[in-house]
């Protein structure tokens, strides 16, 4: 005889697959989340790597044609069009006595007027500044050489910058935020199904008859939660596969990053998501079996969704570092995913412990739900 768990699981899965709303919900989060991230990163990268000329107002260009030529070579050119509304003009004014200052080896006066607090113009201003500084340096070199002095005398310290950040570790910062999408996808994707098979059952008045059938509440709860977990896992699977693919199409190398996830790693991520999918479902069922209607359950669950988001974002942005994070449900998977993406050595034992912890918590929750459903107070809302 087939186990009642299998019977319930198959029926709920069939029912859920026919519900377009549930399927769409599972798909859309997993699909549009990463896509949205990709667009955001694309815009960011193209801003960072913008090497078109900086167009500014240059006043008194006629006084210093050689200087203006140098600026042009460095991508700082005279602006022809008007400044867009809301943007302060960047003005470089060359003082009248340029020729005289050069001839007498005095500092030639150049004034840079701009809104230095403007985020948007920051890179433009910096480029103007460095072009001017470069010219100034060249000028002093020539002056020193003309007086028979080694220009290196002006250099007290030679600072050699040695960047140890690997392309992978730079990418980790970026991928950290993407990870959140993968982790949360299991919470979002199964949500609709979880509500439908719990609060929905009550709302359409089918709960009483179902509970009067020859199966234990334990079997009923497991059958239902496996069906909802399957949906959650489907979302997780989709986003875990989609995100690396989408990142292949982003020109990340232009900002010195590389994200390369080999298929075994993606497979590992998917395996890590399995216990999390069960936990997500158990939490959602726990909440929505108490609700009397679909609407009520939705309200509770959207509050519930804040919990994993807060945990993951909290750890991510507060930069909490503690070994215990590796062992707990949710944070354990988060840390493991971070390590995978950074290309750091994986803590297999910790991964196993957190997976086990996640399973244990889920099983306890499902036990609790079974007990709830055996209670007449919960079932009939007495």
């Amino acid at each position: 005889m087939k186990s009642p768990i299998t019977i319930v699981f198959r029926k709920e899965l069939k029912d859920a697959l026919r519900d377009k709303r549930s399927v769409m919900a599972a798909m859309s989060y997993a699909f549009f989340g990463p896509l949205l991230m990709a667009v955001a990163f694309y815009v960011l990268i193209s801003q960072l790597t913008d090497d078109s000329d900086v167009k500014i107002d240059i006043e008194g260009a006629a006084h210093a044609p050689a200087f203006v030529e140098h600026l042009e070579r460095n991508g700082v050119v005279q602006r022809d069009e008007a400044w867009p509304a809301g943007q302060q003009p960047i003005v470089l004014a060359i003082a009248e006595g340029w020729d005289e200052s050069i001839a007498t080896a005095q500092p030639a006066k150049v004034t840079l007027t701009a809104d230095f607090s403007s985020q948007k113009q920051r890179t433009d201003i910096r480029r103007v500044e460095s072009a001017v500084e470069n010219y100034s340096k060249q000028l002093s070199y020539i002056r020193l050489q003309m007086r028979g002095i080694d220009p290196r005398i002006t250099q007290g310290v030679d600072l050699v910058k040695h960047d140890t950040a690997t392309k992978g570790s730079k990418a980790a910062i970026l991928m950290g935020s993407v990870l959140i999408f993968i982790l949360l996808s299991v919470f979002f994707s199964g949500m609709n199904v979880a509500i439908d098979i719990s609060a929905g059952e009550r709302e359409r008045n089918s709960l009483e008859l179902l509970l009067s059938q020859p199966l234990t509440t334990h079997q009923l709860v497991w059958g239902k939660s496996l069906a909802a977990s399957a949906f959650a896992m489907f979302g997780g699977l989709l986003s875990a596969i989609l995100i690396p693919i989408i990142f292949k199409f982003l020109p990340l190398h232009e900002i010195g990053m590389s994200v390369s996830l080999a298929w075994p790693m993606i497979l590992l991520i998917i395996v890590l998501l399995v216990p999390l999918a069960l936990l997500a479902t158990a939490l959602q069922l726990f909440v929505s079996f108490r609700a009397k209607s679909f609407k009520e359950a939705q309200t509770y669950i959207s509050l519930l969704l804040m919990a994993p988001m807060l945990v993951v974002f909290g750890v991510e942005f507060a930069k909490v570092k503690n070994q215990i994070l590796y062992y707990l449900p949710l944070t354990g998977q988060h840390q493991a995913l971070l390590d995978i993406i950074k290309g750091e050595p994986l803590q297999w034992v910790a991964m196993g412990i957190s997976a086990l912890a996640t399973f244990v918590v889920s099983i306890l929750l499902l036990k609790l739900i079974s007990r709830m459903l055996s209670s007449e107070k919960v079932v009939f809302g007495l």
């Binding site: 019977i7 029926k11 008045n205 009483e208 008859l209 009067s212 007449e376």
Partner: protein, 244 residues
Amino acid sequence: MIEVKSLQKAFGKVTALDGLTFSAPEGQITGLLGPNGAGKTTCLRTIYGLLKADSGEALIDGVDANKDPLAVRRKIGIFPDKFGLYERLTAREQISYFATLHGMEGEAGDAAVAEVLSRLDMNAIADRRATGFSQGQRMKVALAQAIVHRPKHLILDEPSRGLDVMSTRILRDLLRELRDQGTSILFSSHVMQEVAALCDQVVVVAAGKVAAQGTPTELCEQTGESALEEAFVKIIGTDEGIAA
């Protein structure tokens, strides 16, 4: 055989069942007649183990649902107080779901489902999804779910609510047929006509107690009235909550 022995049940301060005792033997239709709020649904829910009695016991073939709910539920078919359908499943799938939960699967299960579909004249709607079913069609699906595993005991909670004449007739014919096959049938109602037309035995319930018991004729004789309705009113002392 369904036996109810001095059931006591209180919800907070409200006493729903107050020492209710009766039995529904095999091959008989027993009607649980009572005004709204008399404790009919509470009694039925206690029999199939969804509610726990404070004291007393409800036995199906000698098994107490509070002690071994699964054993009891395997022996009974239930037509509950509220019957919601799974809107995205077809009639056949719904019935088959309940059949498999009762351990009927494979060809035997399919055959049982097909049989009950034709018995209830549902072949036209068998493969349609439940969305858009009429009240009568929904009732048929619920009824089919209750009898597909051929239970020895059938418990129905106000089965004729909102049914048209044709559906009511199908329901009555079916219940009589099952009775003749030896099923013990217990159903609750507050509709006099239905009870009079169908029941071999009537248990009148008021305020959680048995107010009177017997065949419709016996009840009339006891009260010296000629119509069951008058007898009923005399028994419970009020005509509140009764439909003719």
